[in-house]
């Protein structure tokens, strides 16, 4: 079984919102569209987005870390939003695990959005149906595209490659390796929804080294003693070592 998902690397996300705008651009005009807006150029603008980027700060100034946190449907392996849907409009695809809404069946009762603990389903006030991230199902299943483009719009747009896409059930896929080797984690794991999307934590590679490891104090044979520098005026090129 395939379970397509995103792995989002918080270590490199710079919070540029390129994924947000490319998602809206692709999906509003595609299979999952339109993603309608209300009062887009007025006071209090609002509209449907499948993906949003939030910002968090850990620590107390000046010792802080900024986290940009992209947030979209996690395509849970055990999605609580699906069984509650009274019409069957919400479903999880058998072949690739993507969770989708059939707009033609949805009655707009919003019950699924209550049942999702992550708040990633958005009701379209104009079309009166529930919408959510489709993982760009129309792109990733489009065999007429070259394989390098058969990826969600956000993944292609990300300038820092903070978004990796693939099958998390394939242990050798890029996403599985990233989750395994770089500490990938799931959001709100307490609920047992088993989100497919994972996040990679902030990682710092710091060398743990002491002063006395830089300057050798113990040098019993004195073999590596530095030559004394020649007198001023000569360049290093003139020195024969």
């Amino acid at each position: 079984m395939t379970q397509l998902a995103l792995v989002i690397d918080l270590n490199v996300c710079v919070g540029c919102h390129a994924c947000v705008t490319s998602c809206k651009e692709w999906n509003t005009s595609g299979w999952a569209g339109p993603m309608t807006d209300q009062r887009p150029y007025d006071a209090d603008p609002t509209g449907v987005f499948f993906n949003r980027v939030q910002t968090y700060e850990a620590g107390v100034f000046p010792n802080t870390e900024t986290y940009h946190f992209p947030k979209s449907c996690l395509h849970c392996e055990d999605p609580p939003c699906v069984p509650v849907c009274p019409t069957g409009a919400s479903y999880k695809r058998e072949d690739n695990g993507v969770v989708l809404v059939d707009y033609d069946k949805c009655i707009g009762c919003k019950y699924c959005s209550w049942a999702c603990p992550y708040g990633v389903r958005e009701f379209d006030e104009q079309q009166k149906v529930m919408k959510k991230c489709t993982l760009c199902i129309d792109r990733i299943t489009d065999m007429s595209l070259p394989e390098s483009e058969r990826k969600p719009a956000c993944v292609l747009a990300c300038p820092t490659r903070a978004r990796i896409y693939g099958d998390i059930h394939d242990p050798d896929s890029e996403v599985s390796v990233a989750i395994r080797e770089q500490g990938g984690y799931a959001l709100q794991p307490e609920w047992g929804t088993e989100p497919s999307n994972h996040y990679l934590p902030r990682r710092k590679t710091r060398i743990q080294i002491h002063e006395d490891e830089l300057v050798r104090v113990d040098n019993p044979l004195k073999k590596e003693a530095l030559p004394t520098l020649p007198a001023a005026g000569e360049t290093l090129d003139d020195v024969a070592w």
Binding site: T46, Q54, G59, E65, V84, T87, I107, Y111, L187, Q188
Partner: protein, 325 residues
């Protein structure tokens, strides 16, 4: 959660309707056992009609909650997994049976079909009423489980939610039955009044227990687990947009703590205290109007109670909107 009036009216109106039907059928059973004087068939027929009107009004209210009411029939398909779908089936089932119950009484089709052990005459109304009772209890369960089955919304995820819907529905229905009897001038006023008071007291127990529970628990997840950054000082700096979104409209009530406290005290008074006092007064004064007043006040109180029910619920998605929460 945002308290939507469509759902508030749906749950309170069908609650009264269901309770009223249970009251009628209870009255019939008592009359059968010769514990109460038998009523004219008009009493049951008109009563069923009132109950039906209330259920129908609830149904209409529910349509205002839907984005596409014209597709509502589709909601009957997922009864295997969805309590909402089960409610969509249980509501018309209960309405149909209540309609039949009223019709059977209206046309006096109440000749005994057979007699059990020489004492219990069974007629159409008894059978249909029994089935109707089952459907009504099923409907109470479905309506309440829509909320009680959402394990992320801790304030609702409890058997107390079911008890609450059940007792308050029965209480208001019997209250209305008492008012209806008073209006018709029959002798069932105090019978229904007594049961209304008993159901109200059970409702009070369930509601106070709910308030106590909801005032004390802590949510299983916090911001750290929601974002996955386990730092003791984690602060949200941006929520991803500057205008509102579905997330900030649907899951927040935006009401002040003061208003909610007022609503809480008001509904405790109007659902539980005042109606009970009025029913007791109605006994003492043998008044015909006080039961009606008791029902009216309790129903208004129930609207406040449901309003509070929604505002009590904290959705875990609110963790991602710290400045709203």
């Amino acid at each position: 959660m945002h308290p939507a009036f469509s759902v508030i009216f749906l749950t309170t109106l069908i609650g009264v309707g269901q309770g009223l039907f249970l009251a009628l059928y209870t009255g019939q059973l008592y009359a059968l056992a010769n514990l109460l004087p038998a009523q004219s068939s008009d009493f049951y027929a008109v009563g069923s009609m009132v109950s039906l009107i209330l259920l129908f009004a609830g149904l209409i209210a529910s349509f205002f909650h839907l984005g596409h009411p014209e597709r509502a029939w589709r909601a009957a398909t997922q009864w295997r997994t969805s309590w909402l779908s089960r409610e969509v089936l249980a509501l018309p089932a209960a309405m149909g049976l209540i309609f039949l119950y009223g019709t059977v009484h209206f046309f006096d089709l109440t000749k005994p079909l057979f007699v059990i052990s020489g004492t219990l005459p069974v007629d159409f109304s008894l059978i249909i009423g029994g089935l109707g009772t089952l459907a009504v209890f099923g409907l109470f369960l479905c309506t309440a489980m829509i909320y009680a089955s959402l394990r992320f919304i801790k304030a609702w995820y409890s058997p107390l939610t079911v008890a609450n819907f059940l007792f308050l529905g029965i209480a208001s229905g019997f209250m209305l039955a008492s008012a209806f009897s008073a209006y018709q001038g029959n002798s069932l006023v105090s019978f229904y009044g007594t049961w209304a008071v008993i159901a109200t007291l059970f409702g009070l127990l369930a509601r106070v227990a709910t308030l106590y529970r909801n005032g004390r628990f802590r949510c299983k997840v916090d911001l750290k687990s929601a974002v996955g950054v386990h730092h003791s000082q984690l602060e949200q700096k941006a929520q991803g947009f500057m205008g509102g979104s579905f997330n900030t409209r649907e899951f927040f009530h935006g009401k002040s703590e003061g208003l909610l406290r007022l609503v809480r005290y008001l509904f405790l008074l109007m659902v539980f205290v005042v109606p009970v006092i009025l029913i007791l007064l109605a006994y003492a004064l043998e008044s015909e109007t006080l039961p009606l007043l008791a029902f009216g006040i309790q129903y208004l109180g129930l609207i406040l109670e449901r309003y509070h029910f929604f505002t009590e619920a904290q959705h875990p998605q609110n963790l991602y909107y710290q400045s709203m929460a």
